[in-house]
Structures are given as C-alpha cells and as structure tokens.
Point group: C2
Chain length 344, copies 2
C-alpha cells in the first residue's frame, strides 16, 4: 500500500469544481423564473418563497414526480432540453387537478459523470417550463454519483408546490352523476408507458431513434420526445370561473386508473372510446406490439391528457372557453352512479 | 413478427399491481406522520397542507437533496431502513440553517425493479425520520424504471418544505466579526464523501462491508451507514431564544465550503482544527487513502456536522442549552473580517 498515490475526491470520480461551474451557468436561467415572492438567490441551502397574500385560507398542494424511461429516448437522441419541460408540466398538471396554481419548483438531477453541457440543457428545459407556467425555479440538487448511472445517462425528478384557497380545492365533492367528461388532447405519450413503447419500437420493430415510425411521418425521437404539455394556460380561466367540478390528469394507469381519483364516493364513469380519434402513434404501437386494447388504455393516455368534469349545463360554455384558448376538446362520456370506469 | 406474443406493461418490466401493493403497505406508516395541517390522504395527485396560522409573515423554505452514493453501502449491506432517515435529516438541517422548521416532505424513489420489501423499508426510514422531526410525509413518487438501475439498486431523493417568520430568517445579516463558532458533532460521514470513502475502503483496503475498519471496532457497514443526524431537536430551543446568529450545515464541500454561506458579506472565519477531536473514522480513511489534510476538510465533515454562530456573550448560554439537550459542542473559532475559511 505504500506505493498507492494519495487519493482525492476528483480521483474518486467527483469533480466539485465542475459542479460549481455548471451551477454558475444556470444562475441566469434560473433568475428569469423569479417572481415577487421569491426571496432567495441560488446557492443557499434552501430556497425562500413568501406565502402569497390575498388567498383567504391558503392550502399548499405539493407533488413529486420523475420523467421515467422517456429519458432513455432523450439519451439516444442526444436531446436534453425537452425532458425538463416534461417534468415541470407533469407536476403542474398534477396539482392543477386539485385546483392549485404553481408557486415554485425544485429539481433533482443525478448522473454518474456530470457533463456541464448536458446539465445546462436539462435545467434550461426545467427553467423554460417554469417560466411558461409562472412558477419560480427555487432550487434543486445536482448529484454526481459515480458507478450509479451508465455513461451519458441521468435521472431527473422534480417537486412542485402550489397554492389553492381551501374553498376552491377540487376533491370530488362537486362532481355529480350526469356530469359530462370533456377530454383535452395530449401531445403524445406524455411521460407514461415508455418501457412498453421502447420495447415495441426498439425490440419488436427494430427501429433506431432517427427512423420513421411505420405509418407515421415522424421519427421515433420526434414522436416519443413530444413534450408533455401543461393544461394550466388553457384551464386557468375556466377554473377561476368555477365551472370545473373535477379534473383528471391522465398519467400512468391511463383513463381507468386516473379518472376515479377525480370522482366522489359512489361514483364511476362511462367513457365512449369512439368519441375521440386516438392518434395514429398509439395505433402504430398497438399494432406492432399486438397489445390488447384494454392494456393500451391502462398504460397510455390514448390521446387524452386531461379530463375536465363539468355540469351538463356548463359543458358548452366550457367547450367554448377551451376553443378560445386554442384547445381541441371532446365530450368523452359522463359520470355515473357506481364505481370504476367503463370503456364503451 | 406474426409470432410475437402480444406485449403488456408487465412483460416490459413494469408491474403496476406490485406498485399499488407496495404503496398500500406504506399507507399506515405515512398516516402516522400526519398533523393538523395535513389535509390529504396518500394516493391523490398532490398532497394538501394548510399554511399554518400564527406565523406573522410566513416564508416557505424548500430544499431538494439525495442520499448520494451512501446508497451503495446500503445495497451491499442489504440494510434499507437507514437511508430514508439520512435523507430526511439532511433536508431538515438544510432548511434549519435558514431558521425554518419543517412542515412536510416528499420522497422520490426510483428503481429498476420494484421489490416491495425494499421499498417498504426505505419509506419506513423516511416516515420514521419525518415523525422524529415533526414533519408530515405528504407524498412521493415510486418509479419503476427497467434498464435504468442495476438489479437491487435504487436512487432516493427528497424535497422538504418548512416555514419561518420573515423576521427570523437566518441570512448572515446578524453575524458579526468576533462571533464564535460552536461545532456540534456528526455521527460519521453523514451523506457526503462516499465516493472517496468507498474507493478507500473497498479498493485500497480491499474490505467487505462486514469487515472491521482497521483501528476501529466497527464494521464498514456500521461505520458508513451511521445515520445523518438531525440537529433540529437540539437547536429548536436555542433558535427560538434568538441566540443564533447563523447556522452552517456541514455537507459536501466540508467546513470551508459551507461555513461561508452562513456569513455576511466581507466576513470570513478562522477555524482551529485542534479545537475538537476528529473521530477515528476520518483518520483511518485519511491514512489508508493518503489523502491530503486540506482535501479531507473539503470532502468530509471531519466530525462537525453543524456550526452555530453566536455572539461571544451568549456562547456560554448556548453551550449550556446544547449540553442540556445532550449535545457535545466545541468552540471551533471565530468570525473574522475578510473572506473564506482559514483552517489553523
């Protein structure tokens, strides 16, 4: 052992200077997301955010999420500026369904070897989506973990805090049997079903990320990296007008797994699967993978990323507001007495 | 392709039912961390937490962190109930140094294949530490990501939100040249320096996790899995009494990297490295790895996990309060005019 050279943290694979430099490059990006309640600069231990005034009985709504194996597509495509947007938009939607609008966001980025350019691209996506959603990027953690992640790979998770007045919480209590389900389009798979989609696209079809998906005029990477969209801009006005009885963000578990969480006790839903056009991407995946239709609906959003529950009387007004916001929507079905989601 | 069997999410490596079962087993654990402001049950999209009343000008303090490669020791030891405590305590300390006490916590657990028993152990640790710190475990994400993590491995990150009255924020502005630095003991490496420590213990010394560390009567796994402690219980009373001018949580970057963040502009610190006894674990690591002393102080906490900055007049009162809370402490040095940390 006497001939062993002295060890340092750098020789063990961790470069604290590189981490500092990457964080420095992000400061300006992050600064752009600051709002009047953001009290801290980056680099402190924790981020500071004043509780906004003017909310009668303020309730914080918080959610944690990851991007999942959609990241693998980003690695293959070498495109790192979209996954941060996926993450933020996903989190924004997750608290929106309880009636909350975002205050701030923190990200967690873990990688085996910190490549400054990649980290900057990833956080650029996070910061951009924070800006678009009016959400401060308050902090985050960039972890360099040698021997943990494969070369060129990383994991990305995030955490959002929003606010809602207690009387405006959407918790299923406003939903009535007979209410209509209004579906809003997704941009693609959003962030769910990627393990199955990758198996179909790469293993069954043997495609590369730059290849066209059979029957579609889009490459694998363009189709599978389409950004998980935020429904906040389209729904903000309708939410404030009080015409929303409930919202369901269609993520893992699909419509059958997510819609029940927006309903009250003793309520189920009937969804007419012919009421909207399932985008060709899902049909291509189903055909190639010979996936059962029931499984497709349990794994994928099938073209519907958000469901608005509204009274039948207000359905037209809601649809008009959505159209005015540039949103395509469909009446998917209705709330019924019972339990579960019946796909008809 | 006609002989390919129909694919399902399970065949692609994701078992939604197992995820549901694991989450079910955790419900009771998590329920124990609820407090009067926790409005939501697990399983909703986002967690609900009422802004506590009685804080004059409430500011939220939030931090994200991971456990880092300390997880590798947990994998090797097959011990999964401590890393969650590391994570929560780390986050609690990170917001404590800004004067905040915790409200709620969310975790992110990502793994290649979801093993229910392991997930339950990990979240048990998270929930236990949340209880100990008076912090609600409000939610979290358990992600199954095939082809991402090695068999039996996972990553664990967390996000905390705490609260502080704006006038009680610790931001360096109360710190004066001449203030004393009071060090509080760490339990071991806490959650920093593990990439270097693993290299020394496993590569240089060739030890297994069950072996004794040379010169210590502790095994590698016991020494390296010692739980990152929370300083909240010991410091709560002293904080409330207003006798704390600043706090520094000694994490990655060591004393030189973290102490400056607690100081005001134009201030530095002089730390007498002989003022406390560096625990034998650090000496064993330094000797075996032939690590330069300066590097040791930059990578490890060297036995000091938290530094309290107090006026010289109050130093005795603070030390007495800490002793009454069962805490060992040392006067490490003082705040000086200038910049940076001088180790003497």
């Amino acid at each position: 052992m006497s001939d062993v050279e002295g060890l340092s943290y750098r020789s063990a694979g961790v470069d604290l200077d590189a981490a500092d430099r990457a964080k420095g490059a992000l400061k300006e990006l992050v600064a752009r997301t600051r709002d009047e309640n953001t009290l801290s600069e980056m680099g402190l231990f924790g981020g500071l955010y004043a509780v906004p005034r003017g909310v009668g009985d303020p309730v914080l709504v918080s959610s944690a999420d990851g991007v999942g194996t959609k990241l693998k597509i980003a690695f293959l495509a070498g495109r790192h500026d979209t996954v941060g947007r996926d993450l933020v938009n996903h989190c924004v939607n997750d608290i929106l369904v309880q009636g909350a609008t975002p205050l701030f966001f923190l990200d967690y980025l873990a990688t085996g070897h910190l490549e400054e350019g990649v980290v900057t691209e990833v956080v650029k996506g996070v910061a951009q989506a924070c800006l678009e959603n009016g959400c401060a990027l308050l902090g985050g953690e960039t972890a360099e973990m040698p021997d943990f992640y494969s070369r060129g790979e990383y994991d990305l998770a995030g955490f959002i805090v929003g606010i809602v007045d207690r009387e405006d919480i959407l918790d299923g209590s406003r939903v009535r049997a007979g209410d209509v389900l209004i579906g809003l389009g997704s941009t693609g798979l959003h962030t769910n079903g990627y393990s199955l989609a990758r198996k179909i696209v790469f293993d069954v079809l043997g495609l590369h990320v730059g290849d066209l998906i059979p029957g579609l005029e889009r490459t694998v990477q363009d189709a599978l990296l389409a950004v998980h969209r935020s429904y906040l801009p389209s729904l903000r006005k309708t939410l404030v007008a009080g015409r929303v009885h409930g919202l369901a963000h269609i993520t893992g578990g699909g419509i059958p797994g997510n819609l029940p969480r927006a309903l009250g006790p003793g309520q189920g839903a009937r969804v007419h699967t012919g009421s909207w056009e399932v985008p060709p991407l899902f049909q291509a995946l189903q055909n190639a993978g010979k996936v059962a239709t029931e499984e497709m609906f349990r794994v994928f959003n099938m073209g519907v990323g958000m469901i608005v529950i509204s009274s039948r009387d207000h359905a037209d007004a809601v649809a008009n507001e959505l159209a005015a916001a540039g949103e395509r929507s469909w009446i998917l079905g209705e709330v019924v007495e019972g339990a579960g989601v019946e796909l008809v």
